[in-house]
């Protein structure tokens, strides 16, 4: 290990542990959560994980200051908003999307998108407010299911739009049910990681 600088080692360690946690989440989904179903619709731990990851770790961009906002045009504000998604959330979504053995590739498109989009809700420090995590997961699940339904509809699969409500609502309810179990540990991890980072920088 002496071949690499300490920083690379640390980064590799972080990426490796994240990969392990993601694999563990996938195993949990396959074994345990496939049983948790409401009207034959199962809860989706990967989706919940991606949503919460995106909303907690968020974007590396700083939140705009008020005077910055005052000076910028509408186009700049929109562009800034569009760019402030969560890159790591998108990567986590891509990881999960790649694990689905789907014949039509809707998950590799939708999961990174939802990971990126939930990063928008981090800039306003929403993740500090615990009670917001449930509606965020609920609405994001419905959004992602709509995106998937749109993709399937465009690919000419029958009966998609009729089944959207049948699939999206129970899944959103189940996902918000399991959301707190992911939210609190992940927020703790986030605080731990940022504190370690700050203490590293200060020393």
């Amino acid at each position: 290990m002496a071949l690499m600088p300490a920083r690379t080692q640390k980064r590799l360690y972080e990426i490796g542990s994240t990969g392990l946690i993601l694999c563990f989440a996938w195993l949990l989904q396959l074994t345990l959560l496939s049983v948790l179903s409401l009207k034959d619709v199962v809860a989706s731990l990967p989706l919940t994980f991606t949503i919460i990851w995106g909303s907690i770790f968020g974007s590396p961009l700083q939140a705009p200051r008020p005077d910055e906002l005052r000076l910028s045009t509408l186009g700049q504000v929109i562009a800034r908003q569009a760019l402030s998604g969560s890159l790591s959330g998108a990567l986590v979504g891509a990881f999960f999307g790649a694990l689905y053995a789907s014949v039509l590739p809707i998950y590799p498109v939708c999961y990174p998108l939802i990971g990126w989009v939930t990063g928008y809700f981090c800039l306003q420090n929403f993740n500090q407010a615990t009670f917001l995590c449930l509606p965020l997961v609920f609405l994001s699940t419905i959004f992602s299911e709509s995106v998937m339904a749109l993709q399937l509809h465009l690919m000419g699969r029958p009966e998609v739009l009729q089944n959207l409500a049948q699939v999206a609502l129970p899944e959103a309810a189940l996902n918000s049910l399991i959301a707190p179990f992911i939210f609190f540990p992940m927020r703790g991890w986030y605080h731990f990681a940022t504190n370690a980072h700050e203490s590293n920088q200060s020393s």
Partner: protein, 267 residues
């Protein structure tokens, strides 16, 4: 006064003693006799009762034996008929095979089958798919039919070396040609998620009832011919009333699969 008194007294005593003696005698004789009579009566009654029961049960036995022999006669007739029929079918199957051989068609019976185990269910809500543990190395090919002994399960839609993805009959993309056994009408069955599968565009006036068996048509060489698919659960007019729509309850419960059989399509 003493004379008659003296004369009467022994006679009086004698009579009393005689009375007492008689009483004792009666008691000594009547007690055992009455006991014996009671015992004999009980014995006789029990003998009669036992006899009655035995007679009754023998009668029942005889009746049962008669009934059984009747039943045996009926069943023997049935068996003989079935054997005749079986012989006829065997003959016909031989004839068919001979004719098929003459015509250069392939024989139906020898079809390769691969036993496989379901190792995962895709944990999503849009595709009804499972993953099985056999792949191209074991001879599974894209388009192979997947069945169990209860009924048709689905079709292989993608394969790798060691595993394959099976699209279940509950998936709306999965279509299968079926025949309604009782009336011989063919149709196209399509899945509909957790709702019952449907056969669309059945002509109005078709004599189809709930409970009719739906079998696989299997003329294309992919699905096995006349393998069960399900039973009709409901018949109704479709939206514009021009045709019937049949709802089918699938005979294989696609939510709880473990062992399946993969049949690669015929060449």
């Amino acid at each position: 006064m003493t004379g008659p008194n003296q004369g009467r007294t022994p006679a009086h005593h004698e009579a009393t003693a005689e009375f007492l003696f008689l009483l004792v005698l009666i008691w000594m004789v009547a007690g055992p006799v009455s006991g014996a009579v009671l015992g004999a009566q009980t014995w006789i009654t029990s003998v009669f009762a036992k006899g009655a029961i035995e007679v009754e049960s023998t009668k029942n036995l005889a009746k049962q034996a008669l009934q059984a022999s009747d039943r045996i006669k009926v069943l023997e007739t049935k068996l003989a008929k079935s054997e005749l029929e079986l012989a006829r079918y065997r003959q016909q199957s031989r004839d068919t095979n001979k004719l098929r051989a003459l015509l250069g068609l392939r024989e139906k019976s020898d079809r390769k089958s691969i036993a496989a185990e379901v190792i995962a269910r895709n944990p999503d809500n849009w595709f009804k798919q499972v993953v099985i543990d056999k792949g191209t190395v074991d001879g599974v090919r894209k388009g192979s039919a997947v069945i169990t002994s209860d009924g048709v399960v689905g079709q292989v839609v993608s394969t790798t070396n060691e595993a394959s993805v099976v699209r279940l009959l509950t998936d709306p993309d999965q279509k299968i040609g079926v025949v309604i056994q009782r009336i011989g009408l063919t149709g196209l069955l399509s899945g509909s998620y957790q709702n019952p599968a449907k056969i669309d565009y059945v002509p109005v006036g078709t004599n189809v009832d709930a409970g009719d068996k739906i079998l696989c048509l299997g003329k294309g060489g992919t699905f096995p011919e006349h393998h069960p698919v399900g039973t009709v659960s409901q018949v109704r007019r479709d939206n514009n009333g021009a045709a019937l729509q049949i709802e089918v309850k699938l005979s294989e419960n696609c939510y709880d699969l473990s062992q399946v059989l993969v049949l690669p399509p015929l060449e």
